[in-house]
């Protein structure tokens, strides 16, 4: 732009087809909302005002596909997860962005207030007795774990993460952006290395589509969803067109007129 008189442009927005220029403009706007959600999360109330929540925003077809596939992999690790995680993997693919919020302190630096939430005791023994510690310092170098999350965690820190997630979702609600928090997305993200310093991660999916992609889900959602239906449509329509072919340059079939033989 060399002269101010040239100021002016058009920006067309539409959600279809996915990843078209008009859809990318829309996604870029969602990203602004996601960034504001992250800042809202960072201003949430924390016990003692201690900073502890880290965030990461992930977006793009390949990046989201990787998270969805990790969730599908996890789905088969636990019968209680299978359907849930498979359904939610679809939601990851349909989202505009993923926000990961994690707590950096929950497994190593507890609140040390004897609050009672983790173990129902008036000291922090429940946490410390299950950790490798000296002088209350937690040795976290052994990161092997039979479970996806290496517990126990300081529940007061987890509660603070909840405040952060709540504030992010509140900002989303105020901006009329669809968002929901997921354990499945968080676990997958954590295993992929997002929020690398965190002991527990929650994934928030964000979208600004005509239909909220996180509600009103049909059964077998991993098999019956917009992407799959469209793929099948592409498959189905081609074949009848192919098998009834003719040379349209010379003749096009017309509906028979009334009384015509």
């Amino acid at each position: 732009m060399s002269r101010i008189t040239e100021f002016g442009d058009r920006e067309y927005f539409y959600e279809y087809p996915p990843y078209s220029p008009q859809d990318l403009r829309r996604r870029a706007n969602t990203l602004i909302a996601a960034r504001l959600m992250v800042n809202a999360a960072l201003t949430a109330p924390f016990a003692g005002g201690v900073p502890q929540v880290e965030a990461e925003i992930v977006y793009g077809q390949q990046e989201q596909e990787a998270v969805a596939r990790k969730m599908e992999e996890l789905a088969y690790g636990n019968p209680a997860w299978e359907e849930l995680f498979k359904y939610e993997a679809v939601m990851v693919r349909e989202s505009d962005a993923i926000i990961f919020l994690g707590n950096r302190l929950a497994g190593e630096y507890p609140l040390d207030a004897g609050c009672g939430m983790c173990g129902g005791r008036s000291d922090c023994s429940y946490f410390y007795e299950k950790k490798n510690t000296r002088y209350g310092l937690v040795d976290v170098t052994d990161r092997r774990s039979a479970t996806p999350i290496k517990g126990p965690l300081c529940s007061a820190r987890v509660s603070d993460l909840g405040f952060a997630v709540g504030s992010a979702l509140w900002m989303a609600a105020r901006l009329l952006v669809d968002a929901r928090p997921f354990a499945s997305v968080g676990l997958a993200g954590q295993q992929l290395g997002y929020c690398p310093h965190s002991f527990i991660v929650v994934g928030i999916l964000v979208a600004t589509l005509s239909k909220n992609p996180y509600v009103d889900i049909n059964p077998d959602y991993h098999l019956i969803n917009m992407t799959k239906v469209l793929e099948n449509m592409r498959k189905q329509y081609i074949t009848p067109r192919t098998v009834t072919t003719f040379d349209y340059r010379k003749w096009i079939p017309k509906p028979r007129k009334e009384g015509e033989e």
Binding site: A44, P45, A47, N78, P79, A80, W81, A113, G114, C115, G116, M117, C118, G119, G120, R121, S122, D123, Y126, F127, K130, S145, A146, T147, P148, I149, K150, G151, P152, L153, S155, V158, S159, D160, L161, G162, F163, V165, G166, S167, L169, W170, A179, R180, P181, F182, A183, L187, I200, V202
Partner: protein
């Protein structure tokens, strides 16, 4: 036509704000979708037992004292805060996610342990499923955000929530968070005017000495922790020491006895209310 006193009107409106907060808490998104949230609002003279319990806890804890004084003085000045209690039983996991965050390898093992070892900490109960704790926190955050959007000063507290739990409010909840709202003025729960002149300069500095001692240490290479306790610290050297404190423990046991007495005084009446009728319908 009617005329209203603005200050009174604002104060009365706190109850409406509390209702909005609770609605937001119930509407808040959840990760588990299984949190059984309970909510209650405590106003006026019903705050007295909670303030009294906090008064005992205040003797052992500075942050409780801070909340206790703010509650008590505002109550005595005739403009009590309205206390929103949000709670849930976080000691059960029905999800079978076996995520491990609690420290057990399966939800089944956790549930068995939690059933047999349920207990109370200094502000809440446990053992807890961390995903339930997280959901309760999201709900609580939405309640606070709602108060904020109504321009009402508020703060999430373990102190008032814990005091309410000790008295038997919200039976069945392992974890209760208290959110006082109001009274209606610029700042109540932040930069607390009520705390002016409650702690002397020396009190503040002593707190800093006790809580961030390394900040005041001299050259550490000598191996002896020389503490810079005065402006001319080199003239009268202080040294940092570490040790147990039987006096502090004795004081704590004394407070627990006192606490049991106060709880005993009120808990019967609190429990009776839940037997009689729904608290929401109470006059």
């Amino acid at each position: 036509m009617a005329r209203y006193d603005g200050s009174q009107l604002a104060h009365d409106y706190l109850l409406t704000v509390a209702a909005h907060m609770i609605q937001a808490a119930y509407k808040a998104p959840q990760v588990t979708g299984r949190l059984k949230l309970q909510a209650e609002v405590i106003t006026g003279e019903d705050l007295v037992p909670i303030i009294e319990v906090m008064g005992v806890l205040a003797e052992a804890s500075q942050f409780v004292k801070w909340d206790y004084v703010t509650f008590k003085e505002n109550y005595e000045a005739g403009h009590p805060p309205v206390l929103v209690l949000l709670g849930a039983d976080t000691t059960v996991s029905e999800m079978s996610w076996n995520c491990g965050a609690c420290g057990f390898s399966s939800c089944g093992e956790f549930n068995r342990y939690a059933r047999e070892n349920r207990g109370m900490g200094q502000v809440a109960g446990g053992p807890s499923c961390n995903w339930k704790v997280l959901d309760l926190a999201i709900a609580c955050d939405w309640a606070c955000a709602t108060a904020w959007h109504h321009n009402v000063d508020n703060r999430v507290q373990g102190s008032s929530g814990g005091a309410a739990a000790l008295l038997g409010y919200l039976p069945g909840c392992s974890s209760i968070l208290g959110i006082p709202i109001g009274p209606c003025r610029e700042m109540v729960w932040y930069s607390r005017e009520n705390m002016n002149r409650k702690f002397s300069y020396e009190d503040h500095i002593r707190t800093m000495f006790h809580t961030i001692p390394t900040h005041f240490l001299a050259f550490p290479g000598g191996g002896r922790p020389l503490f810079k306790a005065t402006s001319r610290w080199w003239e009268e050297p202080h040294f940092l020491g570490v040790g147990s404190s039987p006096e502090a423990m004795e004081k704590l046991y004394g407070l627990l006895e006192k606490l049991a007495e106060v709880v005993d005084k009120y808990s019967g009446a609190v429990a009776a209310r839940y037997r009689q009728k729904q608290p929401g319908k109470e006059e």
